[in-house]
């Protein structure tokens, strides 16, 4: 087995430099690569283009990178939870491209499947369609959307092995597997790293061929964005 293990987040991101295009897994704050984000904040790389469904909150996730003005452009579907983001957007410091969530996911999928583009009806007849090729199949219009081209994909998994195989947990799976397939270089941080052979091949979500670097992360905060509960005993 090819060993993909690196020592930690610092080593995993060491060749990410100014101007890089990054994919970052997660939905809201669920399943985000906390360790790599913190390492990118410490490294202070700048002018990044970040492809991520959301942009974190002010003091967590991608919000930490925004606070240090490390992000030049965000490509996301929903970004409403971040005051600093709003300030930078309105002042023109930050460029934002909003795209439909399914389009975002499927453009990742296309990159991982070696397909240059996809056709989707999402956004037909709206401002999302501006400048895009429209094709009609069976009487319905579809937009042509290109596969993403990202220098690095950074994902978070629950378990991984030294060969780079990944297993995700619950809805923290979200964008992680499709982004893992889509990066020219894919970095995976996992809660638990085991020897190759310890994970059942039938239960692997992302095969190690897509993963270039893997490490066991530490001190996961796993912050909850909307804590909703029901009273017990009702």
């Amino acid at each position: 087995m090819i060993n993909k293990v690196v020592s930690g987040a610092e080593e995993a991101i060491k060749d990410i430099s100014d101007g890089a295009t990054l994919m970052l897994g997660g939905f809201g704050l669920c399943g985000i690569p906390e360790n790599c984000i913190n390492a990118l904040v410490s490294k202070q790389v700048k002018n990044l283009t970040c492809i991520s469904n959301n942009a974190g909150v002010d003091d967590f996730g991608i919000g930490l990178m925004l606070k240090q003005r490390q992000v030049k452009k965000m490509i996301s579907s929903y970004v409403g939870e971040n005051a600093e983001f709003e300030r930078q957007l309105l002042s023109g410091e930050l460029e934002v491209e909003l795209i439909p969530q399914g389009t975002l996911a499927t453009r990742c999928l296309a990159a991982g499947y070696g397909m240059p583009a996809i056709f989707t009806p999402a956004g037909v007849g709206t401002e999302v369609a501006e400048g895009k090729e429209v094709r009609n199949f069976d009487g319905k219009d579809y937009l042509m959307e290109y596969a993403f081209d990202a220098d690095f994909a950074i994902v978070k998994a629950w378990k991984g092995d030294t060969a780079g195989n990944l297993i995700f947990r619950s809805t923290s799976r979200n964008f992680n597997p499709v982004m893992a397939m889509a990066g020219k270089v894919t970095i995976a941080e996992v809660e638990e790293l085991v020897e190759a052979g310890k994970l059942d091949p039938d239960y692997i979500h992302t095969p190690g061929i897509y993963v270039h670097r893997i490490f066991q992360g530490k001190d996961y905060e796993k912050r909850i964005e909307q804590r909703t509960v029901r009273k017990s005993g009702v």
């Binding site: 669920c30 469904n53 709206t126 809805t171 909850i224």
Partner: protein, 219 residues
């Protein structure tokens, strides 16, 4: 006039046994509380879950288990979890039977605007454009008139569109309406105590009234 809960309650009557349903944020979320007893319905959350259960009991929240509104939730027996591409794949392939979402404006030709107000901070469309472009069956839960009394059911949307010619049914605080394939809001039911005249004056788009219009029933 109907409250938000009553709009949700009325929409829930449209849900049939065996449906896979996607509920948007806001009034649509409330629909889950009124699903008729004795029928089997599976709720889809587009971040990657089929079989969404109720909120967890206090102390049992799991940061890895949330819905599309980023709220902590639970799974149910028979639930499944998948990635975001598959989630929108099943939406695009029309495996989801019913989508219920909110709107700021709907036009008499079935266009919907619900993601952007020019001049205000734009949060993004999330999954709304994918849902309206693909779903075969969409019900919009919305306010008929805004706080200033102006109609939100228009000849043509004024806000940036989320999708075109995709809405067929609307439930508001005043009425249940279908949008006809040839255009126009066809009045089907009115909220208790609301007159056809009031619905007429609250609907800027073309309203079609034919025959007796019964009051909405919730039971």
């Amino acid at each position: 006039m109907f409250s938000k809960e009553e709009i949700a309650q009325r929409i829930a009557k449209e849900i049939k046994d065996g449906y896979y349903v996607n509920l948007g944020i806001g009034i649509p979320t409330l629909v889950a509380n009124y699903i008729p007893k004795g029928i089997n319905v599976v709720l889809q959350s587009e971040n990657g879950l089929l079989g969404m259960g109720p909120f967890p009991f206090e102390g049992e929240e799991d940061a890895d288990l949330i819905n599309a509104g980023k709220q902590t939730i639970t799974t149910l027996p028979g639930s499944s979890i998948f990635d975001s591409a598959m989630s929108f794949g099943m939406i695009r392939a029309q495996k989801v039977d019913l989508t219920i979402l909110g709107a700021m404006e709907v036009s008499e030709t079935g266009d919907i605007a619900n993601w952007k107000i020019p001049g205000k901070m734009v949060k993004g469309m999330g999954g709304a454009m994918d849902l309206v472009a693909s779903a075969k069956n969409i019900i919009v839960a919305m306010q008929h008139i805004n706080k200033a009394g102006e109609s939100k059911l228009l000849p043509k949307c004024t806000l940036p569109l989320t999708g075109v010619k995709c809405i067929k049914k609307i439930v508001t605080e005043l009425a249940v309406l279908d949008i006809l394939p040839e255009g126009g809001f066809k009045l089907l039911e009115r909220a208790p105590g609301v007159s056809i005249e009031f619905i007429q004056q609250s609907t800027a788009g073309r309203l079609i009234v034919e025959g007796e219009i019964p009051e909405m029933k919730l039971d």
